[in-house]
Symmetry: C2
DNA sequence: CTAAAAAGATGAAATATTCCACCCTTTTGT
DNA sequence: ACAAAAGGGTGGAATATTTCATCTTTTTAG
């Protein structure tokens, strides 16, 4: 594990979406408590933010970068549950009651993250029900994405699932039809729940058919209509 | 849709787990508000409790019975996300902010259900942060099950998935190794994310191998060890 | 009660997917 | 700079899964 760079000043935090949103609900003293108990860290691609099986004492706020949620079944097989980009609250499920992490969260791009002590946040939540509801909503947003992922996985064939992933990355992560994928082919396969060869055959076929242009990490969606159709019939 | 039987008395509610748990957090006036705004309904197998796409104004408390969460993709394909038995809070994701239901919830056995108006509950939540946290935890319990389902679906073959479903039904729904399945073979397939024929071949094979005894709706797990092994290597 | 519809069941052909063997290129560690 | 490891890429054999055709039994609706 490479060394983490710890920032001492609060520059990020004053721009941090979480603090800004919190400011709408909390008083000055509460905001000050929050700011005093916030740690700032940077992660490099590949570094683990939360580790599967650990008990976490902090909530993480992803202010910049891209992370993957992945589950390791203990024997060779690895599974990517989700890919999300900033700004997001990570560890929402652990927000209120402490328990072992069901999966790991690791950086796949350079990430700026603020960590808040769970116990401190819990105290603030107990003082302010409106604030709790707001955070609950944020945490629940992830739930919908998870369900839609599940649906894609459960009732589509591999081509439909890979199409869904490309569309998801384009719409939600990179917000462009042309991007440099931070995932390896193996990771795309772990996200799609299929073999790496199947992903490559699929990408190669779509490149031949001019649906995408794909060369190494560089990926461009040329024909979104057809990709959407593949997703629909998949 | 068959007619719902509406109960006028509060007999169930006074035994209702939800009210009992709420009583630990709320004062007499608040409990009284809750009791005044609670509806009691019975559902028969096949009846829809929440419909996909509807905007729901109520939270449902499943006090007795078994329900399925299912998603209809609009064209022939149907998918079961989960099967749960009482006692459970249904519609937890809708608890705090109103939006369209992502999936339907329907009874697969006779169900006793209490409905609480979302707006009333929201007011109570705003008065009591501790109560909100308790309900949040309850709602989040479902999240873990959903993730474990997802993992099973994503990195196991059909036999592993069907084994997981039998183990899940045995451990969490029927709490016995011998039970009358409320799901049709088609529904088991929709839960496992595979074809109905595949489920039947699998069950037939396991019956030949004395892993299970399966005759129509009656199902008995004879060799849990082997089923667990199939789940592991799946 | 009876006909129709749905569910349970099975085998074989068609298709989708993985696994394996191989090669080349890029990245990583020393 | 160099060797080793990881990633990208491809084709074919082996395997898993679905689709289809067919039949029997059970449930449902009139």
């Amino acid at each position: 594990m490479k060394e983490r760079v710890i920032q001492k000043d609060l520059t990020w935090c004053q721009q941090c979406l979480f603090i800004k949103q919190s400011a709408l609900f909390l008083n000055e003293k509460q905001i000050s408590t929050l700011e005093k108990n916030i740690y700032q860290l940077q992660f490099r691609p590949g570094e683990t933010i939360f580790k599967q099986g650990d008990t976490t004492t902090h909530i993480a706020l992803l202010n910049k970068g891209i992370v993957k949620f992945n589950f390791d079944d203990g024997h060779n097989r690895n599974l990517i549950l989700s890919i999300v980009s900033a700004p997001k609250i990570l560890g929402g499920a652990n927000m209120f009651y402490r328990k072992r992490n069901l999966f790991s969260i690791s950086a796949i791009d350079y990430c700026d993250i603020c960590l808040i002590d769970q116990a401190i946040l819990r105290d603030l939540l107990l003082e302010n029900a409106k604030y709790t509801l707001m955070l609950f909503e944020k945490a629940m947003e992830m739930f919908d994405t998870a369900i839609l992922n599940y649906i894609s996985l459960a009732n589509k064939n591999v081509k439909g699932r890979v199409a869904d992933i490309l569309i998801y990355l384009s719409d939600n992560v990179y917000k462009s039809q042309s991007f440099r994928v931070h995932l390896t082919r193996k990771e795309i396969a772990e996200f799609a729940g299929c073999s790496k060869e199947n992903v490559m055959h699929t990408l190669a076929q779509w490149t031949r058919e001019n649906i995408i242009h794909c060369e190494g990490k560089r990926l461009e969606i040329l024909d979104m209509e057809r990709l959407l159709k593949i997703s629909r019939i998949g």
